[in-house]
């Protein structure tokens, strides 16, 4: 019997189409898995058993009537808690939104519902997507299924860990500076940041509007392509969404899986490697390059000299936008409200609520952004950063004249230990060194597992970047590399991950027995 828990979404679709299983059965399977392992992994902030099963039953009815709503109809999915979900809590990993239940769905969520994907629940994240480890979640960190003492990456550690721990076959992430790709890299999963504007941001609680992009999280390249086709495309509610159709991404993935990359020029970015990159990560990267060459690709070295300024520019633009975006959390309309003693004014309530509701990293970035936008500093900081951004876009343009795709390690290191970089924000920020340029330029990128680093046996990620609107190239090249790597490994990399098999009592025993799951459920919230 097929192990549906570990099967790809594409295989689940095949099983549903063949009538071998039902969406209700699959949804129950993943809900049970969540119940069994999530007390250890803590990928979820909220699980909606009731809602997911209702959606699954509706899916089964559609399929029985011969009218599935989409190619992924009936395949369950997890959604990062930064996307508004009507009737389900949406906290963004922050205390300030604890208990907030949006009255509307993000466009991505609407599209998932319309396509018939039952939503299992909302995944954990760094507060307001600010972080690279999910340790900045106000609800406690998510743990890496490869090693529960390590971080799952961030900010979308919950989505990546959920997929890596087989709690969901698919998930939605968001990527502002690498928050889909870096968690993908450190959990041995696939994550895609589409072209800016390729997926609607309506209902995505913004960290940095000009950088944020929602995208697929999965265990295979084809699965991401299938999901990307469901969520992508123009949305009139998002003025920055692009008009071009989303393209034949699954077809590109299937074509790539044939393993032939003849004539493809692969640009290796000189600036993204070397110092600061873990040896095992680099070695894994080189092995993947060799495989691409074996498939007929031509390697060219490209230089993107402005990339060295990317991190600095990012840490001015992102906090500037964030400082303004987060101003709305003022306790006047929704969310946490702290009323100080005495006869407080509205401003006193705002101050006390924001003080209690935001975590340190959020406050740090609000302060940074407020400063960077201040009169007298604007030109020197925000203005300069925008110029760097232009230079980075030009570097990409020049590089894409020489190469069809650009490649680098996704993250400089494998997963580090929980707490290791918590007190060193700069070290934390360096995790996104290789992923940030794509956000600044709006180009698409994918991360897929390239193997295990020899020194620690943990997953390393391989990043492919393509020109804006050429997301199909990510899938073609990604699928080709995946096929070659899996041939070498004799199966998916995740097959080598610890099983997280449930101990006595049906739960993974890490420390003290857990009396209740770490996530809320719809029943509890009601």
């Amino acid at each position: 019997m097929t192990d549906y828990l570990r099967a790809s979404a594409a295989d689940l679709v095949a099983a549903l189409e063949a009538g071998e299983t039902t969406s209700v059965a699959l949804t129950e399977l993943f809900l049970d898995r969540i119940e069994a392992v999530d007390s250890a992994v803590h990928a979820f902030l909220h699980v909606d058993r009731e809602g997911a099963l209702a959606q699954a039953a509706a899916s089964d009815a559609r399929r029985a009537a011969g009218a599935p709503a989409s190619v992924l109809d009936g395949v369950p999915i997890a959604v990062k808690d930064v996307l508004a979900t009507e009737g389900l809590p949406t906290t963004c990993g922050s205390k300030i939104l604890e208990g907030w239940i949006p009255p509307y769905d993000a466009t991505v969520v609407t599209r998932l519902k319309e396509a018939g994907l039952p939503i299992l629940g909302k995944t954990n994240m760094d507060e307001f997507a600010m972080g690279s480890s999910t340790e900045h979640s106000a609800y406690g960190p998510t743990r890496n299924p490869w090693d529960l003492d390590r971080i799952p990456g961030g900010s979308g550690g919950g989505s990546a860990a959920a997929v890596a721990a087989f709690e969901a076959p698919l998930a939605i992430g968001t990527d502002t500076g690498g928050s889909i790709r870096q968690p993908g890299a450190v959990t041995g999963t696939v994550g895609v940041k589409p072209t800016y504007g390729g997926v609607s941001r309506y209902g995505l609680v913004a960290m940095a509007n000009s950088l944020d992009q929602a995208g697929p999280v999965s265990r295979t390249v084809l699965d991401s392509a299938l999901l990307h086709e469901v969520i992508g495309g123009h949305d009139p509610r998002d003025s920055t969404s692009i008009k071009e159709p989303v393209g034949a991404l699954a077809e590109a993935a299937r074509q790539g899986a044939s393993g032939d990359l003849s004539g493809l020029r692969v640009g290796v970015i000189k600036e993204l490697g070397g110092e600061g990159y873990q040896a095992g990560v680099e070695a894994s990267f080189r092995e993947s390059l060799d495989l691409l060459v074996s498939a007929g690709a031509e390697l060219v070295e490209v230089s993107c000299p402005s990339f060295v300024h990317a991190l600095a520019a990012y840490y001015l633009i992102m906090p500037s936008e964030a400082s303004s975006n987060l101003a709305k959390f003022d306790a006047m309309r929704y969310g946490l409200r702290v009323v100080p003693d005495g006869d407080p004014s509205a401003e006193d309530v705002m101050r006390a609520s924001r003080d209690a509701g935001f975590g340190d990293e959020v406050k740090r970035r609000i302060i940074l952004g407020t400063y960077a936008l201040s009169s007298g500093y604007y030109d020197a900081y925000y203005g300069q950063a925008q110029k760097v951004r232009t230079l980075i876009s030009r570097d990409f343009e020049a590089a894409f004249e020489k190469a069809d795709v650009l490649v680098s390690p996704t993250a400089p290191t494998t997963a580090f230990k929980l707490g290791e970089k918590l007190d060193d924000p700069l070290a934390m920020y360096l995790n996104d060194l290789a992923t940030i340029p794509a956000n600044l330029a709006g180009v698409p990128g994918i991360s897929l597992p390239s193997g295990l680093a020899s020194e620690d046996g943990l997953p390393a990620g391989f990043q492919v970047l393509a020109p804006a609107l050429a997301d199909d190239r990510l899938y073609r090249v990604g699928a080709a590399l995946e096929t070659l790597l899996e041939k070498k490994w004799g199966g998916p990399l995740l097959a080598q991950a610890p099983s997280l098999d449930t101990g006595p009592g049906g739960r993974v025993g890490r420390s003290a027995p857990v009396s209740r799951p770490p996530y809320s459920t719809t029943g509890e919230m009601a």
Binding site: L83, N209, T240, S324, A327
Partner: protein, 499 residues
């Protein structure tokens, strides 16, 4: 309530030159709000016209209302402005409970329209050119209602309620350059500018333009400088001056208040001031410095607005004739004196007179009925002249009856009585009230004979050649005929019979 010391207006001008800057907010009459699909209408149950976007809910995004952009461009063009080829929205960041996102989506250094002017006509016919710095698009805020306490103001209130129906309604803010050199006419210039800007907005049809409902709001910046220096002093900004009369009074008040402070050796605190319509004074608002830091930056959720030149040209073609130009053209066409024209405009009857002439009446007759007859009645009943229930077509019909000899002025007035009372059309009223003039020789002849008989001495004078005496006999005939005799024919009959 105010303890301000004022210098007399005359004395303030002896010592200081005023400079003004006017910021006028125009609420557009688009169907929907600036950045979402909620209805943009006045009134409604509190918080009934809201959605995730105008409530600023997490995740919601704005989309620009193209109709609002079009209205902004038409206002800009009517004010002789340049229209930006490319401009952006910007966030103006500050915390206030009635502002859902704690930033206002506005425009900063890239307004949609800039560098224009409005030629403003003063009472005496003098034209003053007011330079326009910019007209930009932004969204309105919600409205706070302070509950409890004696004054309804924020101080002393138990709590406040916020209605977000207004949040996101499109506004155009029109900012003048400093208006200098208007001296004793400064208050009048300010009022005339706002009045004629309002007329322009009405002619464009882009706003309800109701100052009493806040769909046009004026902020008055004023500063004084020692006379003849040409410099700019420290300004105050008097907010939300919501009637034309108040604009004039607020300028005058601030001139006198500033003058007293400066004359006493003090200095002006740069601040906002609140205008009090009832007492005619301003009171201190909040300090406002040029260093107020709103941390403007381009709105990243919106794409730039880049109106094509074709669109701009197309909109130029839709501009109505500007009110002042139209007045000039009509005055010439109608042959009105300056005074007649001013009275017509002042009575708010320009459009009515125009339509009456279009319906066939002569310009002078149209003016006469609307201004002497109907304006008086409107005034007596405290109504707007347009609300009397008399249409331009009615007035033209009445005048046609006069011209045909069926009515005289006195009878015509009775027809207007009937029209105001809702008795039907002029023809119906004439018939129902039996108002038509009698010019039938039989009926008139009998009345003339009776008048001659009753006034033999007058008849003798006429027989002696004093034809001017006929007036007395005509009066007698008119009295006999209850005013409905054709006075010309009566005269003829009298002379026929007596000479």
């Amino acid at each position: 309530m105010s303890t301000d010391t004022l210098l007399s207006f005359e004395e303030s001008l002896e010592k200081f030159d005023p400079a003004m800057g006017l910021e006028v907010h125009v609420e557009l009459n688009t169907n929907t709000k600036m950045f979402c699909g909620c209805p943009a209408v006045f009134g409604g149950e509190p918080n009934s016209q809201v959605c995730p976007t105008c409530l600023g809910l997490p995740g919601a995004m704005p989309v620009v209302n193209a109709k609002a952009v079009e209205s902004a461009m038409r206002i800009g063009l009517a004010l002789n402005c340049e229209i930006a080829e490319w401009c952006r929205f910007a966030r103006k960041n500050y915390f206030y409970p009635d502002m859902p996102k704690n930033f206002q989506t506005s425009q900063y250094d890239e307004p949609i329209a800039f560098e224009g002017y409005l030629d403003v006509e003063l009472e005496g016919g003098e034209i003053v050119r007011v330079e326009i710095e910019r007209a930009h698009m932004e969204e309105d805020t919600g409205k706070s209602l302070h509950v409890g306490g004696a004054t309804g103001r924020i101080h002393g209130a138990d709590h406040s309620l916020v209605d977000y129906n207004r949040a996101g309604i499109p506004l155009i803010e029109i900012v003048t350059k400093p208006i200098m050199g208007s001296r004793e006419k400064a208050p009048e210039v300010a009022k005339a500018y706002v009045a004629q800007l309002r007329e322009l907005i009405v002619a464009l049809g882009v706003s309800d333009a109701r100052m009493d409902q806040g769909s046009i709001r004026a902020d008055v910046n004023l500063s004084l400088a020692p006379v003849g220096t040409g410099s700019l002093g420290t300004r105050t900004e008097t907010k939300n001056v919501n009637s034309l009369r108040s604009v004039e009074r607020a300028v005058r008040y601030e001139m006198q208040r500033h003058a007293a402070i400066l004359d006493g050796g003090g200095s002006i605190l740069q601040e906002t001031r609140h205008w009090h319509e009832d007492t005619g004074v301003t009171t201190s608002g909040r300090p406002k410095s040029d260093a107020d830091d709103y941390r403007y930056f381009p709105e990243p959720d919106l794409v730039p607005v880049a109106p094509s030149r074709e669109w701009v040209e197309e909109l130029k073609g839709t501009l109505p004739e500007l009110p002042r130009e139209k007045r000039g053209r009509l005055q010439k066409e109608w042959g009105f004196s300056d005074l007649e024209m001013r009275d017509t405009v002042g009575a708010g009857a320009l459009g009515l007179v125009e339509e009456t002439i279009a319906a066939g009446a002569s310009p002078q007759s149209a003016r006469k009925w609307w201004l002497s007859e109907l304006a008086r009645r409107a005034n007596d009943s405290g109504q707007e002249i347009a609300d009397l229930g008399v249409t331009p077509a009615d007035v033209a019909a009445v005048q046609a009856l006069v011209d045909a000899g069926s009515l005289n002025d006195k009878l015509a007035r009775q027809v207007f009585d009937g029209l105001i009372a809702g008795e039907g059309t002029p023809a119906e009223i004439v018939a129902a009230r039996g108002l038509a003039i009698v010019s039938d020789d039989g009926a008139l002849g009998a009345a003339v004979d009776k008048a001659i008989e009753a006034n033999p001495d007058v008849a003798d004078k006429i027989r002696d050649g004093k034809v001017a005496a006929a007036g007395a006999l005509i009066g007698a005939v008119m009295k006999e005929m209850r005013g409905q005799a054709d006075a010309g024919r009566v005269r003829e009959l009298i002379i026929e019979k007596l000479t």
